[in-house]
């Protein structure tokens, strides 16, 4: 098992959001986590990555046999966990090229030159259909919603994680942008056997990234698990049959 979450309870400012989540995800597996707004999907994503605003009150999680919750966010990243943020922060004055080279060097414990890194980056940019001059812009500053999502995918391609958690990476994207995101994810699945946890409201993205498993969450608990046909059932009937 790549990721094993056992009876996880999480609070933010003393309000319990996750009320006992148990979830497994194998190497190279694709799991879709679906549910209406406020069901705790993003809380799960943020908690897995280690956002200090969320407090784990019970349960545990193992990632690649390591206890996740005793590690800082950067240590989790080093283990191969990646989160595509729903709302990425803007960092002024830090160019994308410098930032990406920094995280690439940290991840691979190396110190490659800007010129060499540019070659590495070229291929990744072409997957995302991003122009090279984009790299001189400041990280996420003044980006449109779609640009931010692509920027998250670019970081994923640079870090090549074992597991990518995509927190509503599909929302707000037009069909062309969605295809590009799917292309980036598929690329790493094929090349590196990356596992994916897709958090989404919509079944649309699942046409491009076929899940091995679909999990439905409501009000902090998992109410149903099934294969990819469950997504179709959701699409037809909505969340109502999976309530309470």
């Amino acid at each position: 098992m790549l990721l094993q979450i056992n009876n996880l309870r999480v609070s933010i400012e003393d309000k319990e959001i996750l009320k006992g989540i148990t979830l497994k995800l194998g190497e190279g597996e694709v799991v879709a986590l679906m549910g209406p707004n406020g069901s705790g999907k993003s809380t799960l994503a943020q908690t897995l990555m280690g956002n200090p605003a969320y407090t784990v009150t019970d349960g545990n999680a193992l990632f690649d046999s390591q206890k996740l919750f005793s590690l800082e966010a950067n240590e989790r990243s080093n283990l191969g966990l990646f989160l595509s943020f729903q709302y990425p922060s803007e960092v002024t004055g830090v160019t994308i090229s410098n930032f990406l080279r920094l995280i690439y060097n940290k991840k691979n414990n190396t110190k490659i030159s800007p010129a060499k890194f540019r070659t590495i980056l070229k291929e990744k940019l072409s997957i995302l259909e991003m122009p090279e001059d984009f790299m001189s812009r400041y990280l996420n500053e003044g980006f449109s919603g779609g640009e931010k999502k692509r920027m998250e995918m670019l970081q994923m391609l640079v870090l090549e994680p074992k597991l990518a958690v995509l927190d509503e990476t599909d929302s707000g994207l037009d069909i062309d942008a969605l295809k590009i995101v799917a292309k980036a994810v598929s690329y790493l699945r094929q090349e590196k056997g990356m596992a994916v946890l897709i958090i989404t409201h919509y079944t649309r993205v699942l046409q491009y990234l076929e899940p091995d498993k679909v999990v439905i969450m409501r009000k902090g608990i998992i109410v149903k698990e099934g294969d990819s046909s469950l997504a179709q059932e959701l699409e037809d009937k909505g969340y109502a049959p999976f309530g309470e």
């Binding site: 990555m49 280690g50 956002n51 200090p52 605003a53 800082e72 966010a73 950067n74 989790r76 990243s77 080093n78 990646f82 989160l83 943020f85 990425p88 922060s89 960092v91 002024t92 004055g93 830090v94 930032f99 920094l102 995280i103 940290k106 991840k107 030159s113 800007p114 400041y138 990280l139 970081q155 870090l159």
Partner: protein, 466 residues
């Protein structure tokens, strides 16, 4: 690209001092005899001795300023005002005393010189010890000398300009500097000459409790261009130390001059500097000013825009750490029509440090169509630190266009978490946010200074988180 070697340990790089080996040193404290003695030691003309004495009496008559930072701990009687470490300026590197060399070695000066420098004026304590001018500069007729030497070699030009931009009576510390000044640089760029590589100087305080009072005088003649760069680091001492420099720049019609300073004084230094440029018709003056370290810095580079179409710029960074107060800013005085100015000031406060922006923009009735833009941004890294702003506008002309923007921001947990999720430690994430914040100014610095500054920020961050 060239690799710049940096030591990883801040203390060993910046906190050392080599053995003092002085030829002459005045006793602690100051009186008329000591002022005269300094002048005599330097074999100065009578007018300079008289000017020093007059300045000394002005210094005595003025109280410490009550605004800015806390100056009450300065004990003027407990300071050495003049030290002379060697007899004359050295011509070649081989002649430089070993102790001095060691200091420069650790500062990386010899390498820097080989690679980049057009000329070195490295000040060791109160005298210029080592200076070399490349043939290129000499051919162009550029004068780049220690100020003491310039007084001997070019007395006419010296007397014509010295103290004209910043008279002794300007403020208490300008008076003190005029009374006891020693060292500093003298630069003259002839008409129409463009100096391509930056002129560089390094300053360093290396004797316990000694004041450093360098005096720099720069004349950029009509249509000329040059960039002067100075960098400072200082060893760590427990007792208070005073640095009070005066920098005068005269920008003649159509000339353009840039003066870049990166200062990193040790935490016990009072850094009270007066910097001012007089900018004539269509001239351009740019001050790029980075203030790190010191106990208290009070520094407000200024431009007196006296000629039509003159332009002034100040780009400044202040970094206030533990027990530090950076009171920095800029002054723009518009005295002629169609003059313009820009002030961009960025400050970072951390570990209880305090940074203040203090600025003055003045537009006189004769300065029609003046334009000025002021932008001051503060970044506060923790709850103990503070930042404040004192912008003064004296606009006596209806045609003036003045813009003022100020922002204060904090580094949010969300941003740090975002960066850490990409594999950066908390200190690295914080360092990245800080370097990004000051980037608009850092990109104006020569490469080796930019690298050095970013490295300093990283080291500071390592010490300031968890």
């Amino acid at each position: 690209m060239q690799d710049i070697k940096l030591n990883s340990n801040y203390k060993s790089k910046y906190g050392f001092n080599v053995k003092e080996d002085f030829v002459f040193k005045t006793p602690k404290g100051l009186n008329e005899d000591i002022v005269s003695q300094i002048s005599a030691m330097k074999h100065e003309p009578e007018w300079m001795r008289e000017l020093r004495l007059k300045a000394y009496s002005i210094f005595l008559s003025k109280p410490n300023p009550t605004w800015g930072g806390d100056l009450s701990k300065i004990n003027y009687d407990d300071i050495y005002y003049y030290l002379k470490p060697a007899d004359k300026e050295e011509k070649s590197w081989d002649d430089v005393p070993q102790g001095v060399k060691d200091t420069f070695e650790r500062l990386g000066i010899p390498q820097a010189e080989r690679e980049h420098l057009a000329g070195v004026k490295a000040q060791f304590d109160s005298e210029v010890i080592y200076g070399s001018l490349m043939a290129e500069l000499e051919e162009q007729g550029v004068i780049f000398l220690g100020t003491d030497d310039a007084l001997k070699k070019y007395p006419e030009i010296f007397e014509q300009y010295f103290g004209t931009v910043i008279p002794a009576a300007d403020n208490k510390f300008a008076a003190l500097n005029t009374a006891v000044w020693s060292g500093g640089s003298f630069v003259y760029i002839p008409k129409g000459i463009h100096v391509k590589r930056p002129l560089q100087a390094y300053f360093r305080i290396n004797a316990m409790n000694m004041g450093q009072f360098e005096r720099t005088l720069i004349i950029a003649d009509e249509g000329s261009y040059a960039h002067y760069v100075e960098g400072c680091t200082a060893p760590v001492y427990s007792k208070d130390s005073l640095h009070s420099a005066v920098v005068e720049v005269i920008v003649k019609p159509g000339a353009r001059f840039r003066y870049t300073t990166i200062q990193n004084w040790s935490n016990d230094v009072y850094n009270l500097v007066t910097k001012r440029a007089r900018v004539e018709k269509n001239g351009v003056m740019e001050w790029v000013d980075g203030n790190l370290g010191s106990r208290l810095t009070m520094k407000y580079p200024s431009c007196y825009l006296v000629g039509e179409g003159a332009h002034g710029e100040v780009l400044s960074i202040a970094y206030a750490g533990k027990h530090q107060h950076q009171d920095a800013g800029a002054k723009m005085v518009h005295l002629a029509p169609n003059t313009s100015s820009t002030i961009i000031s960025k400050s970072v406060s951390v570990l209880g440090g305090r940074s203040s922006y203090r600025g003055l923009v003045s537009v006189t009735p004769t300065a029609n169509n003046a334009k000025c833009r002021v932008e001051c941004d503060a970044l506060i890294l923790d709850a103990e630190s503070a930042s404040d702003t004192y912008p003064t506008m004296k606009i006596d002309n209806d045609t003036a266009q003045i813009e003022h923007e100020a922002t204060v921001s904090k580094v949010g947990e969300e941003k740090l978490f975002y960066l850490m999720s990409r594999g950066l430690t908390e200190a690295e994430a914080m360092g990245l946010v800080v370097s990004g914040f000051i980037e608009p100014i850092v990109k104006e610095l020569p490469l080796e200074y930019a690298v050095e500054l970013n490295r300093l920020i990283e080291l500071e961050m390592e010490g300031s988180v968890g």
